[in-house]
Symmetry: C2
Subunit: 549 residues, 2 copies
């Protein structure tokens, strides 16, 4: 027997309708590449999003067609978030910092029919255009007076097209499972793969972000969106902020500490989200400039960080210097991204400050709506004891069922779980801690050694600039850790001094079998260590040594 409640599709357009009706005067502030502040409101964003929808009709972009953006965080990018998806087209947010080859691959694979780009990316689109014959229009996100030179055809002006487009557009009642946005993973192996979000997944995910134990967004918040709009839906902020009528502050390309501070101060930001790198720079600058800035006057109370784990010192500095609680969240492009968030439990009310930080360094606990589980290689559930390392699997309405165009084949197990590729522990309170990428774990005689833990220790050696630990083949133990180190300029330690440094700090059997010094370590376009490359180079290193010994 079915219930007798209304069945209305969960649509992104309803988020904008909500904000434009009930929070019509709430501001959307964005800063352009030139530093100029632009003030808009949900009502204006809604009207301009409707014009975007009409613009897409005029440009001949069919429903379901992909519309790419190469843009920083600004109001026009936000208008595309809503205009494109509301009109039943698919917004493909592209990371402009990828290598050209990757951009060409991704945009060709997505079959992008139009590309909206910030004028600063004019040279980039000139490079891309010859390789992307399916693109029917290149639209610069600016007014007629700011149009860049670019040998692409046709080169169109966003503001001109917008002014020509009618302000009325009835958002279609789409299937809630219709595709809405598309984002490619920048995997370290193989080609990037597209994650195709739906309206339903996006709206449900926004509910999780608005939850008090999510990002706790409310109509009283002013949110600084440091995380790029091209990173996994900017952690849902463009959607979840609208869901509750929060003010959004979009900082454009300038993410230097002073620019961030100025926005926090002038726009009364209460929350801010971005990757730890940004916050490390910000905190260092804030500390150095304490004399001339007024940190106490900021309304900032929560910073949320993800992408990589924020170090303990960052969490403490936010607390001690600014009275800010760092909310550590975790997810992947494949998971929309929110899976776990480090919201406190009741017992933390009486916990010592250090214990709270112990919790904050972990990746957080599962929000309702995404499911995580910890399993051994045979798929059996492992205990939540904070020690047992297993593979983290994920399931839920905002988790991929497969990649765009079937790339990578079937990515779910028989019960519908997606393998994150992460090794992790879960403590008795439910907080997940990632210990390593599963493929980077060193499997030494059936026991697991975390490459990341050794790397983190190694970089605290005063002579070490960067470190990588890989699993090298071993005749007796199958795999043993090999430490590869780039030293700081001028440093000249010997291998033993590095090993001695580690010896007291990790289990004896975790000690790397050898240390290799290199001039530089290989990285991906997004700055991650390229361990696949290192494994190729050094796979047989220990075997060779053993044979030679």
């Amino acid at each position: 027997m079915l219930g007798l409640m209304q069945q209305r599709p969960l649509l992104i357009s309803s988020l904008l309708d909500y904000a434009a009706t009930w929070h019509c005067r709430r501001e959307i502030v964005s800063r352009g590449a030139d530093g100029a502040i632009h003030r808009s409101t949900y009502a204006e964003i809604a009207t301009r999003s409707r014009r975007v929808a009409n613009m897409l009709e005029t440009l001949g972009i069919a429903p379901g067609g992909r519309v790419a953006t190469l843009a920083w965080n600004g109001h026009r990018h936000l208008e595309l978030y809503y205009g494109v998806t509301g009109a039943g087209r698919v917004l493909h947010t592209v990371n402009p910092r990828l290598f050209h080859d990757q951009l060409v691959y991704i945009m060709d694979h997505a079959e992008d029919a139009a590309v909206f780009f910030d004028p600063v990316f004019a040279p980039l689109v000139e490079h891309l255009a010859p390789h992307l014959p399916k693109v029917r229009a290149w639209i610069a996100l600016c007014g007629a007076d700011a149009m860049p030179e670019a040998a692409v055809s046709p080169l169109l002006c966003y503001e001109t097209l917008l002014a020509d487009a009618a302000p009325d557009f009835a958002w279609p009642e789409l299937d809630e499972n219709a595709a809405s946005t598309l984002c490619y993973t920048s995997g370290t192996t193989g080609n990037p793969k597209g994650v195709l979000y739906s309206h339903r997944s996006t709206v449900l995910h926004a509910f999780a972000a608005c939850a008090t134990d999510g990002f706790a967004f409310s109509a009283r918040d002013s949110i600084l969106v440091v995380v790029p709009l091209f990173h996994a839906n900017a952690w849902s902020i463009p959607f979840s902020a609208a869901m509750c009528g929060a003010k959004m502050v979009l900082p454009g390309p300038k993410l230097d500490p002073e620019s961030i501070y100025t926005l926090l101060r002038d726009e009364g930001c209460t929350k801010a989200g971005g990757i730890p790198t940004i916050w490390l720079m910000f905190l260092a600058w804030a500390e150095a400039n304490r004399g001339r800035i007024d940190l106490a006057a900021l309304k900032l109370r929560h910073v949320f960080a993800g992408g990589t784990a924020p170090p303990r010192a960052m969490i403490e500095k936010f607390r001690d210097m600014m009275g800010v609680f760092l909310l550590h969240a975790w997810g992947m492009t494949e998971t929309s991204p929110i899976v776990t968030i480090g919201a406190p439990l009741a017992r933390h009310a009486d916990a010592a400050p250090d214990q709270i930080v112990d919790m904050q360094v972990k990746q957080g606990r599962q929000v309702f709506g995404a499911e995580v589980k910890l399993v051994d290689p045979l798929g059996a559930a492992l205990p939540h004891d904070g020690k047992t390392v297993g593979e983290l699997k994920v399931r839920g309405n905002w988790v991929v069922s497969g990649y765009f165009k079937g790339e990578g084949g079937n990515v779910l197990d028989a019960d519908g779980w997606f393998s994150t590729g992460d090794a992790a522990t879960i403590d008795p309170d439910g907080y997940v801690q990632l210990t390593d990428r599963l493929k980077d774990i060193v499997k030494s005689g059936g026991e697991w050694i975390s490459s990341i833990e050794i790397e983190n220790l190694a970089v605290s050696h005063p002579d070490v600039f960067e470190a990588a630990v890989i699993a090298a083949e071993h005749p007796k133990w199958q795999e043993r850790p090999l430490l590869i180190v780039q030293l700081k300029p001028g440093a000249e330690p010997d291998k033993q001094s590095i090993l001695d440094f580690l010896a007291g700090r990790i289990a004896k059997w975790w000690l790397p079998d050898d240390v290799v010094f290199v001039d530089s370590l290989p990285h991906t376009a997004t700055g991650k260590l390229l361990k696949t490359e290192l494994r190729k180079r050094y796979a047989g290193y220990l075997l060779g040594k053993a044979a030679g010994a």
Copy 2:
């Protein structure tokens, strides 16, 4: 083009699974009729709910079958909330305070196959049983030692059945639109009508309750559930508390102020929800007992109230005496019930205390997921100016599409909106204020006069015990207000003194055309004024007067 995200059904069982996995030791505290405190956890509730599911199989209740409860707020009632719905049966929560005739009508109409009842309701079920031949089992919610006498057959013991039922049960992957719970409206006209909620509507509604601008539930909350579990899903608390792992405190039948205070104190309650009547009594008692109780030691910070509008003095007393913010919410059985909640906006941070109370007395602003609109009699949208009175209409995933078995016919307009029957204003900030029931409004020469406003003023006259204003037919103005008054014992004012009292306080043309004194006013079983009855009695009263004059 469809997205490629997982499509998992939104099911109530997943709420319990979440709480039992990630908040397994979080407490569910309930107090029995004898005052004894019972402590349980989400993990235990989950196991016992699975036993309930097996019990239903044993009792032969078919999937989709209705299972009634006549019970106060306790852990066993909560187990039924989850066990019955998780197993794909429909939980029919029945208000035991209804008249016998209504109970028989409702339970017969619902075709309840089993009735779970608190021992205290044994005499009630004895009365009901002969009229409900379809009930296959009467189960007393107690252990074997506490079994009541009751001439019903078969009379079964909950704890005995539970102990005999297996603790393992795999929750079925139901259609998310499957029926989950059933609740009848106690309308003032016609027979009660059943609202049949679905798993989807319930889960989406719980998301709204967990939102920071909803009830803002978190894992850190301990929630006192004063609102009965048989009132419109207890405002979603049994579901939304599980969604975030909040502790629940279920007070049983004793709702006297001292009992409430003891629970608030002993269980560290941070939030509490109930109707204003309960809070009025509580505040009066707390004020009178300030010397011997320690209000400052309570952790209570938010009380949410609905059902009727909390008076201004109550809001101020909660604030001044206890530092508690009263969150005024509004909804109907037909709307699950949350539609509007009085969460503050950013501008309230700098508002004077009185302005915040001005906001709190209103019914709140629309949460995302339910939609409200204000329309004139022709359906045209009316301005949100805080003055224009119109009809409030509602739409959304947790709003009825029709009543059980089609009673009342088509209840939605062409665009899918449900008529609340309420007259209201909406202010520029979006806060809704109900002004009257639409059918009780006096339509005087095309202008609307609020019966409730006049009644509220009339009862502030020192001699008036209760007052009702109805629309009486009038030869010139179609309708004019007639004031019907029950005086306090011993009071002997004349009509004119009552009218003089009102004269300075309302517009001249709002003044009732006459005052009628009565010994008592008619009420519904739930205590609402039965204006239909008064309209029957006094419809022609003014006509008669006009003819006789």
